[in-house]
Amino acid sequence: MNITIFQSRQFRVFKKHKLAQFGAITLVFFILVAVFADLIAPKDPNKMNLRHSYKAPSSEFFLGTDRIGRDYFSRLVHGTRVSLGVGLGGIGIATIIGILFGGLSGYLGGRIDIFLLKLSELIICFPSIVLILMIVTIVGQSLLNLILIFGFLEWVGLYRLIRSLFMSLKEQEFVEALEAFGVRKFSIMFQHILPNAIAPITVWMTLTLAGMILAEAGLSFLGMGVPLQVPSWGNLLNGAKDLRVLENYPWIWIPPGIVITLAVLSINFLGDGLRDAFNPKS
């Protein structure tokens, strides 16, 4: 199995895509930071010390401290865990819903198709941030709520993709054969048709993960995402809304901004590379 992956045409295309490799390596790096955050962070990210308010970077505080004297480097490291966690959690839920709804809609058609299509149309009537903020005001602000909201709103793109794929694939002969054999519909959909959609699903997951990390950052920057005491990339930038910070304390807003941009950029590179690798025309 492994040997065939390394010999495949997709892998060869991917190997030529330097930016995609850069993206993959950076993403793995961030995931390792997130997993081993406890080991990497030199200090407790939540320990306050008002005597150390806005200390500049030094050997003791690698990236300085924030307004209430918390070690900024430790918060950035733990923020990696929170921000990637929100993104991956949201992607997980959105992928399951997108595949399930898309499969039902595309393969079964009929009333369920009309209902799900209408639902997806309703969701895309709203700019995503408006709908997210509207729901946050109703259900309240918490880490779990944010993951659930991302998961339950961002499936629409994948749903459309899977729906149209299933609609065309169900006309294929292998599906007719399976139906003639009396294989259960559920099994046809998710054991036989679905594997043909792995490539577009992977590309969608990668590019949407980038979008979710950006959305978390934006919402937390506004103070509406992850609760403010939890370290996340967006929450770290929240401090930059203060004019004093912008004038005097560059370590408060430059490092998290660069980290977010780098993370999103590498995920986008990876997604682009995967799309080229899976695209037979490239």
Binding site: K118, L122, P127, L131, G218, F221
Partner: protein
Amino acid sequence: MRAFILRKLLNIIPTIFLLSLIIFIGMELTPGDAATALIEPDTPVEEIEKIRESLGLNKPAYIRYFLWLTGIFVGDFGISLNDGSDIATVISQKLGATLELMLTSFLFSSVIGVILGIVSSLNKYSSTDHILTLFGMIGLSIPSFFFGIISLKIFSVDLQLLPFGGRLSPDEMGNVRILNLIQPALVLALLEIAAVMRYSRSTMIDVLGKDYIVTAQSKGLAPWRINFLHGFRTAVTPIIVLLAFRLPGLIGGSIIIETVFVWPGMGSTFIYAVEGRDYNMVMMISLIVSVIVLIASLLVDVLIAIFDPRIKLQ
């Protein structure tokens, strides 16, 4: 054509009703109503009941939904839960500021994005193309507010060339007002340029690979004729469609940018309402935004039909 537009209009009416129903349910699920917004904190319970009765808040939900919906059609959007101000008035005051910001950045990003996209596609795989593509990717990846903060730091804090934020009233001198507008509009536009450029580039490359372009080349036509009269004319339809599809993104982006630059538009009003748990205001702005997006998508359909004769109007 008229029948086509009419049919599209009829299509979106049920969606608008559904949206309004969702918004109404959202307001029902959240605490507070017009009575709690109007009373003083220590009003006796009987007094509150009287106010509720006089405002019709004790009627069954479906009657209140009907009254609320008919109210919207005559411009009664209800009142803010925080200060009792009329939501329709607040929105009409803020809408101009948001439109000013969005239109400016829309024009900037459309023109520059399309031009850069064409430049990129005509010099495919050159170093210009690679650099533009890389910048486009960075533009898509950098959080808009981070970009805004960098811009503020450079132009307002360090160089002190531009004001720190806010908006001057329309009575002020034109050239002074521009200074306030230019920074948020350009920040919003620069991020959009990335998306427009990428899309224009791939559309142009797609078109320029078509057989009739090869035919035109083999006939020895001048390259600019081929690129612009034959190529760009075909590419323009999908590009126009994209320009119109960007509206939801533009609204979403302006919410964050307005907050960064303290621009007194719908976006910052929305954020203040969310922060202050002003549920009525949040829901009404959401409803208005969603209806605007819906109407914009209708316009897209009409535009496609005008520009693309292959689309049948039945």
